[in-house]
């Protein structure tokens, strides 16, 4: 699955296993509580692309209700560290994902505030930070560019 930021032509490639994982959330959506986690992957500047290789799924310390998902550091940081070490220090934090009870998901005010905050962080390895919302029918991806929220377009495989 490939997505493109039409302004900067940055390409986000999503590994099949991650894609499958996302679709299990789409298919098994039970409306009871929200889910979420972090996006993990590698940087590929030679092709102006970023590859999403892994995600984390909810850990016990995350706060999950019907309308919100508050991700804690617990579990996610550890998982991130393991991915980083096992990948010979190539995998990095790439952003956040969460589910939303909407057919075609739209970010809430809280989401937007949160995304802007995360994108501003100085210790991000990737110039690009992505935000994925899994709706009940569709998966949508955004990134932040110059403090603006930009939705990525899906592009066909080559």
């Amino acid at each position: 699955m490939r997505y493109k930021n039409s302004i900067d032509n940055i390409i986000l490639e999503i590994d099949e296993q991650v894609e499958k994982l996302f679709y299990t959330y789409v298919e098994n959506y039970d409306f009871a509580v929200e889910s979420g986690g972090i996006l993990i992957g590698t940087l590929n500047p030679a092709y102006n692309s970023v590859r999403l290789t892994n995600i984390t799924e909810p850990f016990p310390k995350d706060i999950r209700t019907q309308y919100e998902f508050k991700r804690s550091e617990d579990g996610h940081q550890n998982a991130m560290n393991n991915f980083w070490e096992q990948s010979n220090f190539r995998k990095t934090y790439l952003g956040e994902w969460h589910t939303h009870n909407q057919k075609i998901p739209q970010p809430s005010h809280i989401d937007i505030k949160n995304w802007l905050k995360i994108s501003k962080k100085k210790n991000n390895n990737s110039e690009w930070i992505f935000f994925i919302i899994i709706g009940t029918e569709e998966i949508c991806i955004w990134t932040i560019q110059n403090k603006k929220i930009i939705k990525l377009e899906r592009i066909e495989n080559y």
Partner: protein, 336 residues
């Protein structure tokens, strides 16, 4: 400056191509066998040796997958008995001709080109030498089949002496850093110049620049472990800085402008200038690209983020340079 030695070593592992490479060995052996079986009875006896960058330990994977294998054929002949230097080349051409490959007599060698899926997959250059001369020296056969007579001649050559010089310049781990640095520069060249035409410097020209005092070993002895710690980035940086300062700025008659020019002579016969085939303008262009590389390397020096430093190096060297990142701090996140 962050420690990029691991990345450089990995990069080197990704690009290095040496004589140990089975694929190259196999291809060479097949052709040598064919040559042995098919060469005409009229031909003189010969021995073979490996030459070129693989033999020197400075070979890299080609970006266009067109592997370049260099083989030397030393014929037991006296050059004075062969007025036409192309004649021994024809023995080789004829022995290898008539197969699916394309065989061609070029100025300095006989080239066999293999194609895969309509693309040149690799080629083997056979250089033909006369090795039984009255002066004890070795001569290479120059000229194409239908060149004028003045372009068909014997030229003194010492490819094995050259290999020895490069190999013996340094020893042990120092030699390894020397070879790695040459490979980095050669990889930069193939990544930044198109492979066709003479606009790019040859690999051997860059090798000789490094050999001829541009390169110096960069290592520090760790007082704690008493071991040498190599710093390839700094070695490369210094080498490029020195290459840059080898250029001289002067008027070019041909280009009718001031140009940066460079020269480097082969340290063995025929002691020719290895940049002689580049025009003044091409050398000037090389200078600006070297300058650009240096400023990129300076930029790397100033980076504190691993991913940013690696991104610049990918730009310089291509995707073979690994992109590592610092530990991620995931923090917390809130969504609704």
């Amino acid at each position: 400056m962050i420690d990029l030695q691991k990345e450089f070593i990995e990069f080197h592992d990704n690009i290095k191509l040496d004589d140990e490479n089975q694929k190259l060995r196999d291809k060479r052996e097949i052709l040598l066998k064919k040559l042995k079986n098919n060469i005409s009875d009229e031909a003189a006896s010969y021995t073979t040796f490996n030459q070129g960058s693989y033999a020197m330990g400075t070979g890299i994977y080609p970006e266009d997958e067109d592997y370049d294998i260099d083989v030397g054929l030393k014929f037991d002949i006296n050059k004075d008995d062969y007025d036409d230097a192309v004649e021994p080349k024809k023995w080789v051409r004829d022995a290898l001709d008539g197969h699916t490959k394309h065989v061609d007599i070029k100025r300095s060698c006989v080239t066999v080109t293999y194609q895969e899926n309509g693309k040149s997959a690799y080629h083997v250059d056979f250089a033909v030498y006369a090795n039984d001369n009255s002066d004890g020296k070795m001569y290479i056969a120059k000229g194409k089949e239908f060149s004028d007579k003045e372009y068909r001649y014997w030229e003194e050559s010492d490819p094995q002496g050259l290999i020895k010089l490069i190999k013996n310049k340094y020893s042990g781990d120092d030699a390894a850093q020397f070879r790695r640095t040459i490979r980095y520069i050669k990889k930069w060249k193939t990544h930044n110049f198109s492979s066709v035409g003479d606009s790019a410097p040859t690999g051997i020209a860059l090798t000789i620049l490094a050999y001829d005092s541009c390169f110096s070993v960069n290592k520090t002895t760790d007082w704690a472990t008493k071991k040498s710690v190599y710093d390839d980035f700094s070695a490369l940086h210094t080498c490029i800085k020195n290459i840059k300062s080898r250029f001289s700025y002067s008027w070019s008659e041909l280009a009718q402008q001031m140009c940066y020019k460079i020269s480097a002579n082969l340290p063995v016969a025929p002691y020719s200038n290895l940049f002689s085939k580049m025009t003044d303008k091409q050398m000037d262009e090389l200078y600006s690209r070297i300058t650009n590389m240096l400023s990129k390397l300076d930029e790397v020096k100033g980076k504190t983020k691993r991913s940013e430093a690696c991104t610049i190096l990918v730009e310089l060297f291509g995707e073979e340079f690994p992109v590592t990142v610092d530990k991620s701090i995931v923090g917390t996140s809130e969504s609704a």
